[in-house]
């Protein structure tokens, strides 16, 4: 008995010692990251795509950070902040002793410059001499689509390390927005040296600094020696981001050990990666939703909730997730991902039930689908993070609808036309597939932006529901997060009852990597930080 206990204690101690050893990060080495495409540009204010932000994530930093594997906020370049009781003034106290890669100091003026250059009307005040901010090259897309001009009234540097934002309206997600890529702080000196060239020569305060960019081939970063926080890296000497467009080739490169991480492999390669003893599969539930919407500008969809519900129960979404997402997805109950605060887990979700669907269809006034003309099901022509194969999903849904007597056909366009026509909600569209990848981890960024049709005619699902609209406004104007969570839970229940759209799936991100890559974590926002990564 004692012997056994002794052995157990020994094993325990050894494993603790072992894990402590394994946890001591090793410095040095070059990590090669294989990705599907090259970056478009490296000025965070103007980029829109993941491959550009991926570099920005390592070169720049924002006032607030998102925690590892979560969208909770922690101090970043700002050490603390205060929000005035009326919710209209945000005062950020900045970190001292931070340097940009070009050696210039980070201070309040750099913040005013970085954000001020995106404002349409530049109500900014520098503390020092400041700069004459040049005219915008083009509209800063994220700033515009996050409606920052309608939110921010003025930005002022009160002293060298204090910045004050005055808002035009109470906007609860404002703080989370300040952690997004577009809100990264750039070196004004580097920018002013040649504003047009900055997009190819980024300078920030991040753990890695930019070295070179061979277009369509690779981007090289190296560790920034003067990084302000030495406690968590950077450990790597260099990080190289190689563009390898073909998924299977990228995976072969990983198997050959010539790259360390393989972004977006084919679903079919995941089982192979599992079998390979050299590989690990970092996994993260994606912060996204793929949904099936109704044309709510058009009858019968507009006013017949029973009909919408019948369709929700008729479609075998689990089969779609299992067979088309091939395990890289999760059946959705709500339109926000389960990892997000405010998620309502008490919503039951629509069960796949053909009999119930038939019953609801009859109650809706279309027994066995009679009197319902052939409907169109718009299916996406491209793979998106939330939907790997829109056309296959469309065909699967067609079969399910046929089982309750609804005749439908799949319609598709090229992606640009699809997006444009979908926004117009034309007569020839009945059902449509679409989705969303979240930006800042705030439920407002899904529930209001996608479904509150009363807020703007530009919202992609034109659902006009007064109660929902009120809830969304309340959510925006309440600062307390616990209270906001309750509001969004109510909103999700309302969506379940009214079925403005059918949530289909949240995709799961799996990026296989060599086992010697340590501490590589995927982030729900899709950002890729190599700061604490090291090589065994």
């Amino acid at each position: 008995m004692f012997k056994k206990v002794g052995i157990l204690i020994l094993i325990f101690m050894l494993s603790v010692a072992g894990s402590a050893l394994a946890q001591t990060p090793k410095k040095g080495g070059t990590l090669i990251f294989g990705r599907g495409g090259d970056s478009v540009g490296l000025d965070p204010a103007y980029e829109t795509d993941g491959n550009s932000f991926m570099i920005c994530d390592n070169v720049y930093e924002a006032l607030v950070f998102f925690k590892d594997e979560s969208t909770a906020i922690e101090p970043g370049l700002a050490t603390s902040w205060e929000i005035s009781p009326d919710g209209l003034t945000y005062t950020f106290r900045l970190r001292k002793g931070v340097k940009f890669h070009d050696g210039t100091p980070f201070n309040a003026d750099a913040v005013v410059f970085s954000h001020g250059r995106m404002m349409k009307e530049r109500k900014v005040k520098f503390f020092g001499k400041g700069w004459d901010i040049p005219k915008q090259e083009r509209p800063p897309e994220y700033w515009v689509s996050m409606e920052m001009d309608n939110t921010i009234d003025s930005i002022e540097a009160k002293d060298e390390y204090t910045v004050i934002y005055k808002l035009k309206r109470v906007e609860a997600p404002f703080l989370a927005n300040m952690g997004m890529d577009f809100a990264d702080i750039i070196s004004p000196t580097a920018f002013m040296k040649d504003p047009k060239a900055f997009v190819r020569n980024p300078v920030g305060t991040g753990p890695f600094k930019f070295v070179e960019w061979i277009k369509d081939d690779h981007i090289t970063l190296e560790a920034f020696k003067d990084y302000w926080d030495k406690t968590k890296g950077p450990y790597l000497n260099k990080a190289i981001f190689r563009a390898i467009p073909e998924n299977s080739v990228r995976f072969l490169e990983l198997k050959a050990g010539t790259i360390h991480i393989c972004q977006f492999p084919n679903a079919a390669d995941i089982p192979l990666a599992r079998k390979d003893p050299k590989l690990q599969i970092p996994t993260q539930p994606g912060m996204n939703i793929g949904y099936l919407g109704f044309n709510l500008k058009k009858e019968p969809w507009k006013s017949n909730a029973k009909l919408r519900k019948a369709i929700a129960h008729a479609i075998n979404r689990k089969a779609i997730v299992d067979n088309i997402y091939q395990g890289m997805g999760e059946l959705a109950k709500n339109c926000i991902p389960p990892t997000m605060w405010g998620y309502n887990k008490d919503v039951p979700g629509y069960a796949y039930d053909v009999e119930l669907a038939k019953k609801l269809l009859a109650e809706a006034g279309y027994p066995e689908g009679k009197d319902l003309p052939e409907i169109t099901l718009w299916s996406m022509p491209v793979a998106r993070p939330y939907n790997p194969e829109g056309l296959k999903v469309g065909v699967a849904m067609l079969g399910d609808l046929g089982k309750i007597g609804i005749k439908a056909r799949v319609v598709s366009y090229d992606w640009g036309t699809y997006l444009k026509r979908q926004r117009d909600q034309p007569e020839d569209m009945d059902l449509f597939q679409l989705g969303w990848t979240g930006d800042n981890g705030d439920p407002d960024n899904f529930l209001a932006v996608l479904f509150d049709g009363l807020a703007s005619p530009a919202i992609r699902t034109q659902w006009h529901n007064e109660t929902y609209h009120k809830l969304m406004l309340e959510g925006k104007q309440t600062i307390d997060q616990a209270k906001r969570a309750e509001i969004y839970k109510k909103a999700q229940q309302l969506m379940y009852d009214e079925v403005p759209v059918i949530p289909v799936a949240h995709s799961t991100v799996m990026w296989p990597a060599l086992k010697k890559v340590q501490n590589f974590k995927l982030h729900p926002t899709g950002s890729v930080s190599l700061r604490s990564v090291w090589l065994q």
Partner: protein, 334 residues
């Protein structure tokens, strides 16, 4: 001769003008809005309007075309919509990669294609003839995409002889002067880089050469067969010349004339960028760039890229015509 070349170069101008008109009208009738593609799901009416205004898409089409021609006349291809870089710079960054790959593929395919063609013709209906013609049939019909993956599986993953993809190892330092890596590594006497660049070139050029190789082999064979039936060959045989001399000295020069045209045309096609090969082998060339431009409706890339492809084609044709005269003095340039 020089007058002929100058005249031919002048013809380029109306040709290119025609090309721009065709491209412009095709863009006008194909659906798709670059602003919409640029902003994706998160586009709002405001951001779309601002973007269209910025891109100049709200101007009538003929105004857009006029502005474009005015720019081109000043040798300015403008800036791309997506990357906000000068189109000319984007081309200069990628075209050397394409030329290098096309050149390597053409060397392989012309050498082996002509060789196979000659032997097949000289030994018509032999097992070698059947085998090489069957092989070239396979070469023409083999999808490059699949072939590329198979080459990688065999030569990189299993045997480890060649690197799988890319143009140069990321651990190799090379000072670029001309952006032709092979040339640059020779100029800077960087032999490690030269070896690495050649190793990277091996698989993609092999994959890319299959189709032109097959075409060249078949063309050489049929053209040689025709020549070998001519009276002067009979005379040569009657004189008692050796078969090797007959084939290589007397028949080949005439037999090669149509082959030169085919090689020229194939080279022109390859210079336009081999989209599939570039995609499979992550080769940073102009083909994939142009293809992406079409998918993203980047008008500036499409216009600049097609001008490049068109002018390359015209130039290649000109060179072929000049070569004609050199190979066969009976064809005089008028």
């Amino acid at each position: 001769m020089i007058g002929f070349i100058i005249r031919r170069i002048l013809v380029v101008i109306p040709t290119l003008l025609g090309v721009t008109i065709v491209i412009f009208s095709m863009l006008a009738i194909t659906p798709g809005d670059p602003a919409e593609l640029l902003l994706g799901e998160r586009a709002t009416e405001d951001s779309l309007e601002a973007m269209r205004e910025y891109l100049g898409l709200k101007k009538p089409l003929y105004v857009q075309y006029w502005l474009f021609i005015k720019r081109v006349a000043k040798f300015d291809l403008g800036e791309t919509i997506w990357t906000r870089q000068k189109v000319s710079e984007e081309i200069m960054d990628r075209f050397p990669a394409t030329i290098e790959l096309a050149f390597a593929a053409m060397i392989i395919s012309s050498f082996f294609g002509v060789l196979l063609g000659i032997i097949s013709a000289a030994k018509q209906y032999s097992w070698f003839d059947y085998a090489s013609m069957l092989g070239s049939l396979l070469g023409v019909s083999m999808p490059v995409f699949w072939l590329g993956l198979m080459l990688m599986l065999l030569f990189s993953l299993t045997l480890g002889w060649f690197p799988m993809s890319g143009r140069l190892g990321v651990d190799i330092d090379l000072t670029t002067i001309t952006k032709f890596f092979i040339l640059d590594s020779i100029l800077t006497r960087n032999w490690a880089a030269l070896k690495d660049a050649l190793m990277h070139l091996a698989l993609p050029s092999m994959a890319l050469s299959t189709i032109p190789l097959a075409i060249v082999a078949r063309m050489t064979r049929s053209s040689m067969l025709e020549v070998l039936r001519q009276d002067y060959i009979k005379t040569a045989r009657a004189k008692g010349l050796s078969e090797v001399k007959i084939v290589f000295k007397h028949a080949l020069r005439n037999g090669l004339i149509p082959v030169v045209t085919v090689v020229g045309l194939q080279f022109g096609i390859l210079l336009g960028g081999a989209i599939l090969t570039e995609t499979v082998f992550a080769w940073p060339g102009v083909g994939k760039w142009l293809f992406d431009g079409v998918v993203k409706r980047d008008y500036m890339v499409i216009q600049g890229g097609s001008l490049l492809v068109a002018s390359t084609f015209v130039m290649i044709n000109l060179i072929v015509d000049v070569l004609y005269a050199i190979i066969n003095p009976r064809i005089s340039v008028k």
